[in-house]
Amino acid sequence: MSLQSKLESGQFAVSCEFGPLKGTDTHEIEENLNILRGKVDAANVTDQQSSVMRLCSLVTAALCVKGGLEPIFQMTCRDRNRIALQSDLLGAWVMGIKNVLALTGDLPALGDHPEAKGVFDLDSVTLLMAIKQLNDGFDLAGNELKGKPAFFPGAVVKVDSNTEAAYELQISKLKKKVAAGAKFIQTQAVYDPNSFEKFMKRVEKFNVPIMAGIIPLKNAGMARYMNANVAGVHVPDELIEKMAAAVKEDREKVGIQIAADLIKAMKPMCQGVHIMAIGWEKKVPAIMAEAGL
């Protein structure tokens, strides 16, 4: 069953994600396909995340289609203007890619080509408008298409923020994303089911399926790093202590257990989970099994 039919029929869906590597070696993509095929409903293919140049998400997503794993094609506005974005979208549809995740994208200055020009001709909201327009059979300029796609567009939101303004801006932007055509939402990693519950109450009225973001912890250092450096991620001290207390051989087990517990706690509040394993793609089936998915 496709991600779209699952979410539209009110069933609980599971997605995960992986990033293509820098270079033409597609070995790891094959490995990920073998691990994840038949296990998750869909997999995000990241678009040169953190502004680090890599093999493109469009071709990797097409390889997923070919390999029997439904991709969620991540598309950022960092590197392409509206002409290239629309053209790649048409190409994606022709290659059998149905799910698109619209993102603004990171600043090039934060990646490995800091001298590059950030394009940002569109942003996450206006890219969603473009997708809707293509689905309706027209391009952004209003020209009619010969053959039109039927994308299932998605977007992202941050659950935790450390200022009132940032929190409210996330909610108002989510409202805009839904108005611009987003049909599913994946969140940034959540580690506190209480704050997730509070967030879900605020956005209930938008009536859009929300998939809670899960990043399994590998060790306490990773948790502390994310708290200090990743906007919108807050790992509570209690979980950091749990990771720190685990002996080396147990760490993996504890990390998987924490992720599974979070999934179990948040499952009744939302319509799916999005597991961002960051190199731990092999562990995704174990996390799902532990969570009873």
Partner: protein
């Protein structure tokens, strides 16, 4: 006001590698107040070039190098010094260098880089910047420009990268959208956050062709005086 800063001296010396002699030209306008090409910097540059083994045939500071007529009249008495020089080094903005290059039949080199001011038109204190986008959005954003206040110039709201109200690019920079949110809240205008703004029209952000082609106040192209009525009649 245009802000310029001197190029590294090594880069300037590399320009002059095959030249033995040089004339140094500065500008009493923006370059003087930028501290990159006023009388003091021209003198210092001349000394450094001489110390590096170049013959400085002369120097001059003119106000303003962006006006070709002033460049020509200002250099009238320096023709011999200019003739003697293999090249002219100009300490000013990109406009001044282009005017000098157009006015003199000599190799002309830039001694400065012109700094992008990100929409500012001066060096007064204050954080307000105008992008000159030709489609003013300030109604929607509480009088704070999202194109200049947000590092990514986003029109649809915050990107999510901010941490404790600061932009991901630097802890010294406020998140423009948080500034907008706080302003709108203060004024009771938070519903403006729901306004869907269409993708920007970049045609309007580009300078219009006629702006690129005509120096509005250029002495070299004075506006045509209206012709007397009888002359028009005679035609």
């Amino acid at each position: 006001m245009i802000l310029s800063e001197q190029k590294p001296f090594d880069e300037i010396l590399a320009f002059l590698e095959k030249d033995n002699s040089v004339f140094v030209l500065g500008c009493n306008g923006c370059a003087q107040s930028s501290g990159s090409g006023g009388p003091r910097q021209v003198e210092e540059m001349s000394e450094k070039l001489a110390a590096a083994g170049k013959k400085v045939t002369g120097s001059k500071v003119i106000d303003f190098l962006c006006e070709k007529a002033l460049v020509k009249s200002g250099l009238k008495r320096r023709v011999d010094q200019l003739k003697e020089a293999d090249a002219v080094l100009v300490l000013t903005c990109g406009i001044g260098v282009q005017c000098v290059a157009a006015a003199l039949n000599k190799p002309v080199y830039p001694g400065c880089n012109t700094v992008n001011l990100g929409g500012s038109r001066g060096e007064w204190e204050g954080t307000e910047r105008c992008y000159e986008c030709g489609q003013c959005l300030l109604y929607h954003t509480g009088g704070i420009c999202p194109l200049t206040a947000c590092t990514k110039s986003l029109v649809s709201g915050a990107c999510g990268g901010a941490n404790h109200g600061k932009c991901e690019i630097s802890p010294d920079r406020d998140c423009g959208w948080e500034l907008i949110y706080n302003r709108l809240k203060e004024r009771g205008l938070l519903d403006r956050l729901d306004d869907l703004i269409k993708p920007l029209d970049h045609k309007k952000i580009m300078p219009r062709p006629e702006m690129m082609a005509t120096p509005r106040y250029g002495l070299e192209n004075p506006p045509q005086a209206e012709k007397p009525a009888e002359e028009v009649k005679a035609k």
